[in-house]
């Protein structure tokens, strides 16, 4: 080892001076962007808690408050469109804080020339999704940008919900021995979107799992108020979500590969493109960290809910390897499940 040591300073790679697509991928670049740009500028201790929603004490009530923007391409996909997604996404961010979602706002940035038939289809899907979820869209905004300055339509939704008293949910709460529960199959949304992408596309009957998860959360909290935290593994997939929780709680995690449910369509696409379902986005799944003594009851409640029919216990929180997520392979060996820097790229060669 000695002769390898060198005092030469490694050539530093130039820091990227422009925002890359990867900065929005939910991976490590996104975390860098938050830390280096937004936190520095905003300096809010509540923001710095890095939860999916802010929890605020306002006039004796505990409010959950969150916002999300939707830029999905294609706008219409199997199992939904950007409209339904924009409702589900924000409802879920509230639900992950244990809140009962109440009201949403809707902001539209529409590209000049966008067709009314498409806009109507999108807004109708939004309305329908909101009614199903029991939330009202109560305020909104519309801007139209010149052709070429947008990509059809972008939607922002902001949501407010009420957090029941006595709840203490945080990604910093995971403790060694806790169980990791997942509400269903991984990667359905991300692979559905990918299947329609130019240059990569393939055919399948797979549908996005886009769905509002607040009633599932409610049913789970009904059997245990001691659940440590909920997260919906969207961009960056389960791997990024669990790495974030492990990091924030200062614990390790060990997953069991055989127990992680993946559909045959998702598997096929991942095999073909060299992708790992652990990093693929979901829009209707949640992961919960649950104390071991409540795990069975909570899993039972999940399995009884229509959105949790494929739920499974996929791993445990450990004292060992803090901040690191490790997966036990079918061969009884283990490997790291790291957070990716940016988007997962098709591994072709």
């Amino acid at each position: 080892m000695g002769q390898l040591f060198t005092l030469a300073c490694p050539v530093p790679l130039p820091a990227t001076e422009r925002v890359l697509l990867g900065h929005g991928s939910g991976g490590r670049l996104s975390a860098d962007l938050l830390r280096d740009v937004f936190f520095k500028a905003f300096r809010s201790p509540i923001l710095a808690q890095l939860e999916d929603q802010a929890t605020l004490d306002v006039g004796g009530a505990r409010l959950a408050f969150t916002t999300d923007s939707f830029v999905v391409k294609p706008l219409f996909f199997r199992g939904g469109n950007i409209g339904s997604l924009s409702v589900h996404g924000t409802v879920n961010d509230l639900a992950m804080g244990g809140a009962q979602p109440l009201y949403l706002s809707a902001g539209f940035i529409i590209e000049e020339g966008f067709e009314f038939t498409a806009l109507r289809a999108i807004t109708e899907a939004m309305g329908e999704a909101a009614r199903c979820a029991g939330v009202d869209i109560v305020t909104g905004d519309t801007k139209v940008v010149e052709k070429g300055s947008g990509d059809g339509v972008f939607i922002n939704t902001t949501g407010i919900g009420l957090v029941p008293p006595g709840l203490n949910l945080s990604a910093a709460n995971a403790r060694p021995g806790d169980h990791i529960l997942l509400s269903g199959t991984l990667g359905d949304h991300g692979i559905t979107i990918l299947s329609e992408r130019e240059g990569i596309g393939f055919d399948s009957l797979l549908e996005s799992d886009s769905a509002a998860l607040h009633t599932l959360v409610r049913d789970m909290l009904a059997v245990s108020m001691r659940i440590r935290c909920f997260r919906d593994p969207t961009r960056g997939g389960l791997a990024s979500t669990l790495n974030e929780i492990a990091g924030r709680s200062g614990v390790g995690m060990t997953l069991s590969e055989v127990d992680i449910p993946v559909r045959e369509e998702v598997r096929g696409a991942c095999e073909m493109l060299g992708l790992d379902p652990l990093y693929v986005a979901n829009e209707g799944k949640l992961v919960a960290i649950v104390p071991p003594e409540d795990s069975e009851a909570v899993l039972e409640a999940m399995l009884c809910h229509p959105l949790g029919a494929n739920s499974a216990r996929i791993g445990v929180v450990t004292e060992a390897h803090p901040g690191m997520v490790v997966i036990r392979t079918t061969f009884g060996t283990s490997r790291i499940v790291d957070m990716l820097a940016g988007d997962q790229l098709p591994r072709i060669c």
């Binding site: 080892m1 390898l4 040591f5 060198t6 030469a8 490694p10 050539v11 530093p12 790679l13 130039p14 990227t16 422009r18 925002v19 890359l20 697509l21 990867g22 490590r28 670049l29 130019e198 240059g199 990569i200 045959e264 598997r267 096929g268 095999e271 073909m272 493109l273 060299g274 060992a320 390897h321 690191m324 490790v326 392979t329 079918t330 061969f331 009884g332 060996t333 283990s334 490997r335 790291i336 790291d338 820097a341 940016g342 790229l345 098709p346 591994r347 072709i348 060669c349």
Partner: protein, 367 residues
């Protein structure tokens, strides 16, 4: 999935592992050449199942890793041109050139796209006749038939706005280079199954004969690799040096002759520079003169540049199997997949990146 699932059976894996344990009597150093095989070994933790006598070192078979810096710089220069739609396999986009990678070109306004197949690039050329479509044709022998067919088809259709930036390398010259090195430690090779599906394994028989070196052509699933390792260990323990074919379901001795005819029509063997290793004589392909109109380097007149690698990167040693990623002082500290110093940390198939992603914890636990 048929022909995948049955080769991932944990119980059978245990049986093969037990047989390897039974057969091995002394230390052996084996190399898998192909990055895809490195990926499988790491993903399933196969190195942890083997007896300590069997050491696996990882070869230079990752086309993304061995594409020289100069060529990435050329790709960046071409992709930055306003009239160009630059199309690449996904994992090439992150490879750093001397100043930029293709993602940064995209962020600065370049039209850079990912494709699963080179034929998608051809389709873009048909659809955008006012643009120049350039495909980054990297790869080993496995990928050459696809890239050759694409150029052949472009010529047949008379498409003038399509060209490829060629970075094609060949496995046997790299093996010869490793075996000619006085520092070589490798005693047996897992030959790359998909390369052999195209090329057959006649070339490897010559290598086995002249270097007295055993080869086993193996597949890419964990049981394929374990069985390949078992067959290699058996040869070594018995003092044999032959070419055996574990991957007979996909590989025949003669390979795919039709594919080779098309490759030979479009490409000719040429000297190639490998990132981390240097120039190897007759180790790659370039387009034949007849197809020079499809050569992006000529079309865009990108000049030859010289670029230096980071000084403390030991990629050359790693790609030759002389060192392991964890032997590098920069590994995991100054060199990570986010900030790679050298080629093997770049692609997920690169040995350093595979170690970083999958194996760091064993090192931490040991430390």
């Amino acid at each position: 999935m048929k022909f995948l699932d049955e080769y991932r059976d944990p119980a059978l894996a245990q049986a093969i592992v037990a047989d390897i344990h039974r057969r091995v009597t002394r230390p052996w150093v084996l190399m898998e050449i192909c990055g895809g095989q490195t990926h499988t070994l790491m993903r399933y933790g196969i190195d942890d199942l083997l007896p300590k006598e069997v050491e696996l070192v990882h070869g230079p078979g990752c086309p993304v890793c061995v594409t020289p810096l100069e060529l990435v710089d050329k790709a960046v220069a071409i992709a930055s041109r306003p009239e160009v739609i630059f199309v690449s396999y996904g994992d090439m986009l992150r490879v750093p050139g001397s100043s930029q990678d293709l993602f940064q070109v995209k962020a600065a306004g370049g039209d850079v796209r990912i494709a699963y197949s080179p034929m998608e690039a051809l389709d873009l050329a048909r659809r955008y006749p006012d643009h120049e479509v350039v495909f980054f044709a990297v790869g080993f022998e496995t990928t050459a038939p696809a890239n050759a067919m694409t150029v052949w088809q472009a010529e047949r259709e008379g498409l003038k706005n399509f060209s490829i930036l060629v970075s094609h390398v060949l496995v046997p010259p790299a093996i010869r280079l490793l075996l000619n090195s006085r520092q070589n430690r490798v005693q047996g090779f897992i030959a790359p199954g998909h390369v052999c599906a195209v090329m057959g394994y006649g070339e490897y028989e010559e290598l086995a004969e002249s270097y007295k070196m055993p080869f086993v052509v193996s597949g890419f699933e964990p049981l394929d690799l374990l069985e390949g390792i078992r067959m290699l260990v058996t040869q070594l323990e018995e003092g044999r040096a032959e070419v055996e074919n574990q991957y007979a379901r996909s590989v025949t001795r003669q390979g795919n002759e039709l594919a080779r005819v098309r490759m030979d029509e479009v490409f000719e063997v040429a000297d190639r520079k490998w990132r981390g290793i240097g120039e190897i004589a007759q180790s790659g392909y370039r387009l034949r003169d007849y197809y020079r109109d499809y050569d992006a380097e000529l079309k865009f007149g990108v000049s030859m540049t010289h670029a230096d690698e980071a000084p403390d990167c030991i990629a050359a040693m790693i790609l030759q199997g002389l060192k392991k990623p964890v032997d590098c002082t920069a590994f995991g500290s100054r060199c990570t997949p986010d900030q790679p110093l050298g080629a093997p940390m770049v692609s997920s198939e690169g040995a350093c990146a595979a170690y970083y992603r999958y194996r760091r914890h064993t090192r931490t636990e040991a430390a």
